[in-house]
Amino acid sequence: MVPTAPGPAVVACRHLTRRFGEIVAVRDLSLEITADEIFGLIGPNGAGKTTTIKMLTTLLPPTGGTATVAGFDIVREPARVRRSIGYVPQLISADAQVTGFENLWVVGGLYRIPRHERRARAEEALERMGLGPVADVLVKNYSGGMIRRLEMAQALLHRPRVLFLDEPTVGLDPVARDAVWEQIDRLRRDYGTAVVVTTHYMEEADRLCERVGVIHRGEVVALGSPAELKATLGQPGATLGDVFTHYAGHEVELGGAYREAGRTRRIAARLE
């Protein structure tokens, strides 16, 4: 197999497939993501982005094909994959009933960070995400942007090699969105963490991802840097949204079932 990206692959999918009964949510997905990039999976709600991320994070077994993450097979070595990754789900992963610090303390325990190191690491992570002053406030009193930053702190506490972010900016206002992306960028610079992010905000992907995979109805229909993809259209001033329309055959905003729409709005409501 010829690697499609330069540098060592930190995520390599080979014919990854997931069916739910008759529906094929992800079809024969093959791609490689390298250790030093921010990779975006872009597409509308219901395109198969979340299903892909769930398979790569070992939450959902594939029904066909496989993938390696940080060198470990997601089907045969799920425990090792889990130790190597951080995950911020589309929904909420911070517990509202306890404080920010307590959330991190629990996560530190789950990742077997020894007690004597855990407190210092949790405090450092809170400082880093600008949450130092609210460390001991119950998370139910946090704003949406603060919750997302706390979730990133949780996902990074054990210094994973790969960070998966599923729609990290859904429901956030533009200022909070910028703050989240700034953190993603800093992280990669400081720790060399590979970042796989899904989004349906095309302008975000365009600005921040080194490479994107356009996913539509469970298949990757285009893969490359935003500039490369825009160049393939041969029209000056093309946007990533145009790229999506070109490859997927319709506008970004179409698609997404009732359930997906409900879910997105619920998240937005919770994060407000």
Binding site: T57, R83, I92, V106, L110, R112, Q154
Partner: protein, 264 residues
């Protein structure tokens, strides 16, 4: 990359302790539920217990009816709290929090087992309420180190058993509405087909096999054997605890297979 065995044990204990600790912190931040939960056993003891003691409707041998009833009501409140524990997992599924546990390198058996044990914190709080009330009602209970220690062990086992059963139901039905329906459906038969408020001896013959197959019977029997000095229990306490432990371990094994469905 391989951990030393000692480090692994320490790591596993750390994982279990933060899961149980999280539950303790939640209860410490908002103990409202504990107070609300104390009302029902209080009514059973004070109203139901007192009335039935006076009218002598239920033959309980050498013990008074309140002596007989107190362990039964404690077991009942443990059951009622634990059987709905799974709803927290369904809520965590809807919010997304459940994925945080399932993407972590916590072994599934340990995750489910620790969550089950964490549910017993609520059960233990009920023990305090029931024992205080019973003492206030002048029910003569045994307060030796062995009996109190044994009661704690029995409550942790019983809570873990029923909360693990609850997590199995949650993993299968996955929505709050269906879960509540099934929870309601289960509690009454478990309660009435047990020796909680009347002895098995007075049950009709067809009901007795159900009572002997009901884990609640063994929890009640263990508590009765430990708390009530004049006895009246069916089996030795060690046997009761052995039955509870075996069922609990079996349920944890099943739950660990089903629980990951909540993140799918």
């Amino acid at each position: 990359m391989l951990d030393a065995p000692v480090g692994r044990l320490e790591g596993a204990l750390g994982q279990a302790s933060v899961i149980v600790g999280l539950e303790a912190r939640k209860l410490a931040h908002d103990p409202t539920e504990l107070f609300l939960r104390a009302i029902q056993p209080a009514l059973w003891l004070v109203v139901f217990g007192s009335v039935f003691s006076v009218i002598h409707a239920i033959p309980t041998g050498s013990e008074t009816y309140l002596e007989f009833l107190t362990p039964g009501i404690l077991a009942q409140s443990v059951l009622f709290i634990a059987i709905f524990y799974g709803i927290a997992s369904i809520r965590e599924r809807e919010l997304g929090i459940i994925t945080k546990f399932l993407v972590s390198p916590t072994p599934r058996l340990l995750l489910v087992g620790s969550r089950g044990v964490s549910a017993s914190l609520r059960g233990l709080s009920q023990a305090v309420v029931v024992l205080l009330l019973a003492t206030a009602l002048r029910v003569p209970l045994s307060f030796t180190v062995v009996s109190v220690g044994g009661v704690l062990v029995a409550i942790v086992l019983g809570s873990t058993l029923f909360s693990t059963l609850s997590m199995i139901i949650a993993s299968l039905v996955r929505t709050q509405e269906r879960f509540l329906g099934i929870g309601q459906l289960l509690t009454m038969p478990l309660f009435f087909a047990s020796n909680a408020i009347y002895p098995i001896a007075i049950m009709p013959a067809w009901l007795r096999p159900f009572a002997y197959g009901n884990p609640l019977t063994y929890l009640v029997d263990a508590l009765r054997g430990l708390m009530v000095p004049s006895g009246g229990s069916l089996f030795p306490v060690a046997e009761d605890l052995g039955v509870l432990l075996a069922i609990t371990l079996g349920l944890i094994a099943i739950a660990s297979q089903l629980y990951p469905r909540l993140a799918q």
